[in-house]
Symmetry: C2
DNA sequence: ACTAAATAGTCAAGCAGACTGTCTATTCTG
DNA sequence: CAGAATAGACAGTCTGCTTGACTATTTAGT
């Protein structure tokens, strides 16, 4: 986690003897690049959502939407998804409630729980976030081409086990 | 930013007519995967650094080290690098100072500025973070193989413009 | 050269998002 | 059917970050 600049000259890495140390530096570039890419992505999505007229929507909201979309989710489930306590999730849902992005109704088969679902407004934000995300992805296509992006997606799919989506937005 | 599960069936995307909508869903998977991968990476590095005996080192510290390493950096530069105010950067440097990871001396050509540099202890943490990052990257190699990882790095290098390294650790 | 604007850093106060701890209501387990 | 586990809310607190105001130094304009 020291050098970012040498990420470009990965082409002629044909040396075999000194490959061990070279490989280290090369490998070190991967996390750095991933993190940087994710950060850029987050910024782009954030900006895109805002540009579409939704102010004050934070990354954590977007990640919550991901979990809520579909059949809805309970507060504990949202908390689990985001990797925060249920108290934090509760606060977050409260805010989404106030902003009109979600509604909470009594859970069909658990009287303790609340089922949080998206409102039309909530779906609108979700669409905006999706659009922004796709827009960002299309820039990647523009640079790398469809084939490489397809491979990229395939590779990432193999590596990523459905982990938490931390608020790194 | 709705579906994550369909990221696996990217293989037979040969349909031409309905390709427009399909491509959307496919593209949407990319940011999601990237974000998830980055999140996992951050957790892994964090855990790795801790496992090597450095407790209480946060992601933001690691990103600060990246900037400080080499010729050192001023507080404003560190803030810029992290995407926070210089006040926040100042607080962060204060903490690193207290923990003995950095020292600050007067800047050689600007009496207003302080030059923050790593101590031996700071370099030790940096090495630990590097090792943890490489370890995480090697898991990727184990899954994808060296060739794919090399391509991955090459692709990411082309897409990532040296942006901020936000505290998404 | 000299003033005016910009910049590096600090101090102080406030805020927002997260945490722990505690509680009630409901459900699951044996 | 009793006891443990779980969903959620309420209260209090902590921490990392922000804005605002200020000093010291450097850079730019005339």
């Amino acid at each position: 986690m020291t050098e970012l600049t040498e990420a470009t000259d990965t082409t002629d890495a044909t040396a075999a003897v000194t490959a061990a140390t070279d490989r280290r530096g090369e490998l070190l570039a991967l996390p750095l690049l991933m993190l940087s890419a994710a950060s850029t992505l987050v910024d782009a999505i954030q900006a895109g959502v805002e540009a579409r007229g939704f102010v004050g929507v934070r990354p954590a909201h977007g990640f919550a939407f991901v979990r809520i979309a579909g059949d809805g989710a309970t507060i504990a489930e949202i908390g689990e998804h985001l990797g925060v306590t249920k108290q934090a999730a509760s606060q977050l849902v409260d805010e989404l409630l106030r902003r009109g992005y979600v509604v909470s109704s009594r859970h069909p088969r658990d009287a303790r729980a609340k089922l949080v679902t998206l409102t039309e407004q909530g779906r609108a934000v979700t669409r905006a976030a999706d659009d922004a995300a796709i827009e960002a992805a299309q820039e990647w296509v523009a640079v790398l081409g469809e084939e490489r992006v397809r491979e990229l997606i395939a590779d990432l799919s193999r590596v990523v086990r459905a982990g938490k989506l931390r608020p790194l937005w």
